[in-house]
């Protein structure tokens, strides 16, 4: 009988320290059994359980894009028992991945539309997956303008710095990188909180859909900005976090009302969330 709790064995292929506080690292995994990579077919917005024998499992958004083959990546914040252990693991070590889990950003609905991506801090992971996927030559024509507002506390806290710089150079994606503050005289991008920069740079909600991922405080202040611009709640898309165990809607802990964040989410529209109890 198929066992949805059984992780695929993987090897840590590469570890990149992303931020100046060294609290965020990106882990690139390669499947020990090559056929497992096909079974792990995912869509941007989904997550997986990272599984470490002897420590446990943690739900983490998938940071790589399905257009990137041969590996899968996750960016992990060092927080608890499993993530702290993971941060001390080395390239070559063996662990597990279970998934892909949850739903994804509304890709069908986004086709033919302007896509606004608003991200803050280390919640940029599934947004990176989405951007890589959208700007892939096979997909770019499906979307109209792609605009990204991404902020962190300081320049050193931004994720994927090399890629951000690369996207800045492209003319098929509008980048607005910002930091809360910096004393770096060479900082060439924006300074200011994400909601403020969103208000400055996004001028229209026409034929647009917004995906917002970030800390609760950023979401709280970005929401009215988008509503003022004319985004209806159906076109404001959010991704939630919750304590999880099974990841498949069975163990019962990540519910908001009758929805399980792990299976019915993590992606919900603001319209959906307004109908659900405010318990997240």
């Amino acid at each position: 009988m198929e066992n949805p709790y059984l992780p695929y064995p993987v090897r840590i292929d590469k570890i990149i320290t992303e931020t100046e506080d060294r609290n965020l690292k990106t882990f690139r995994f390669v499947f020990l059994n090559p056929e497992d990579e096909e079974k792990f077919a995912y869509t941007p917005g989904q997550f997986a359980e990272l599984s470490i024998a002897g420590k446990g499992e943690i739900p983490i958004g998938i940071a790589s894009s399905p257009t990137e083959k041969g590996f899968v990546t996750f960016t992990v914040n060092k927080t608890g028992l499993v993530t702290t252990y993971l941060h001390n693991m080395n390239e070559g070590d063996v662990m597990g991945i279970r998934g892909p889990l949850g739903n994804w950003y509304p890709w069908d609905e986004m086709e033919g539309k302007n896509v606004i991506i608003v991200g803050g801090g280390f919640a940029f992971t599934t947004l990176r997956s989405s951007i890589i996927s959208m700007i892939d030559p096979a997909n770019r024509s499906k979307f109209k303008d792609i605009t990204v507002v991404y902020g962190a506390r300081t320049p050193g806290m931004l994720l994927y710095k090399d890629e951000l710089a690369e996207w800045e150079q492209r003319d098929d994606i509008n980048m607005h990188i910002t930091v809360d503050g910096t004393d770096d005289p060479d900082w060439k991008y924006n300074t200011g909180f994400v909601p403020t920069i969103t208000e400055e740079k996004i001028t229209s909600a026409d034929n647009a859909i917004a995906i917002v991922c970030g800390p609760p405080i950023m979401i709280k202040f970005t929401q009215p900005v988008l509503e003022k611009l004319g985004f209806p709640p159906e076109r404001i898309i959010l991704s939630l976090e919750m304590r999880m165990k099974c990841g498949i809607g069975i163990c019962g802990r990540c519910n908001i009302g009758d929805q399980y964040v792990c299976k019915d989410g993590p992606v919900f529209s603001l319209a959906q969330l307004k109908e659900m109890p405010s318990e997240y």
């Binding site: 066992n3 059984l6 470490i52 002897g54 446990g56 063996v94 597990g96 802990r253 009758d258 318990e279």
Partner: protein, 345 residues
């Protein structure tokens, strides 16, 4: 469908013989209470009971179960690779389970065996188990199975139903699984019309003894957020100690935790029953907790059973009316009263 009459001695003898082919679980007197235990030399079945303190849900869904195992010994080429633990799915029978606890399995099944995912351990334990129910001649004052779609002789989900006729038992095979079990028990005689009528009378009179009235008819039409934001939750939760007794005893509570445990270089991934009554159940790694306050957790328990489940499955409430949470709550929180409040809000 077979109806057979056995003398009580004959039936007990039959159960002993059944142990050759089934792991037989029976109610055993254990201090002041009854508990379902494997029928062996030390555990003699005693069917003179209202209900066991704990339902036999653990036969299918153990309180603690090893799911996976692994070695952390780097000298082993399979180190750190998680593997399924071997399991015994040989036939088992739960004899004497009450119809409410059988109904509870039907409720829980919608969670563990759904169109998207099948929980391999729950499903295989369940499928290898034959449920031999014992109708309730004398329901307790806290029972309300008739109010939530069941009844003291409800046959739904049972493989065999036993009627306790005083001197004899009438056994009714209800499924192929049940008939197969009955086929392994020698003796008995076919039930005549008078016996069948007596059995029906017994069931009808038992139903009448349940006096609780708990309407659930309006729960479905209520707006979730109206109930969620209703003013009565703080008051309901006021006395609650968050002890978790209600969820621990509930035959329809299914939530679990998954934990890794290591001894030396060998480790297991196990799952344990968990409870929404505990703050740790929803505590995020960041320290944020969506259900930080006691009243939020109490609200979650009742909203899950009486609203979220109702909306999700459109198949009644997540409660089989066994009354355990009412009987054993140390501060007398009563799901019947809460249900009335919610249904009439």
């Amino acid at each position: 469908m077979t109806d057979k009459i056995f003398s009580k001695e004959e039936w007990l003898g039959g159960l002993e013989a059944l142990r050759k082919t089934y792991g037989v679980f029976v109610p055993v007197k254990d201090g002041d209470f009854h508990t379902f235990m494997p029928f062996d030399k030390g555990n003699i079945p005693d069917f003179d009971y209202q209900n066991s303190r704990l339902s036999p849900k653990s036969v299918v869904y153990p309180q603690s179960e090893r799911l996976f195992e692994y070695t952390l010994d780097k000298a082993d080429s399979e180190a750190d690779i998680v593997k399924e633990s071997p399991k015994d799915y040989s036939p088992r029978a739960v004899v004497g389970i009450r119809p409410c606890d059988v109904q509870a399995f039907q409720i829980v099944k919608r969670n563990f065996d759904n169109p998207e995912y099948r929980d391999p351990w729950w499903v295989q334990h369940f499928e290898s188990t034959t449920l031999v129910g014992l109708g309730c001649n004398e329901p307790c004052s806290t029972c309300f199975c008739t109010e939530v779609g069941g009844g003291p002789f409800n046959q739904e989900g049972l493989d065999v139903l036993i009627f306790d006729m005083g001197e004899t038992y009438l056994l009714r095979g209800l499924t192929d699984k049940g008939e197969a079990l009955l086929g392994k028990i020698t003796g008995g005689s076919p039930a005549d019309d008078q016996a069948l009528k007596n059995a029906e009378d017994l069931a009808a009179s038992a139903s009448k003894k349940i006096t609780s009235s708990i309407p659930t008819d309006k729960l479905k039409e209520k707006v979730t957020n109206d109930l969620f934001n209703a003013p009565f939750w703080e008051e309901i939760a006021f006395a609650c100690l968050n002890c978790g007794t209600c969820t621990f005893l509930c035959p329809t509570c299914w939530c679990f935790d998954i934990q890794d445990e290591v001894l030396g270089k060998e480790g297991d991934r196990i799952r344990n029953w968990d409870s929404c009554m505990f703050p740790l159940f929803t505590l995020h790694g960041s320290g944020h907790n969506p259900r930080d306050n006691k009243f939020q957790r109490v609200r979650q328990r009742f909203m899950h059973k009486l609203k979220y489940y109702v909306d999700k499955y459109d198949n009644g409430v997540q409660c089989s009316g066994c009354g355990r949470c009412v009987r054993y709550c140390p501060v007398n929180i009563d799901i019947r009263e809460v249900c009335n409040l919610m249904n009439n809000y």
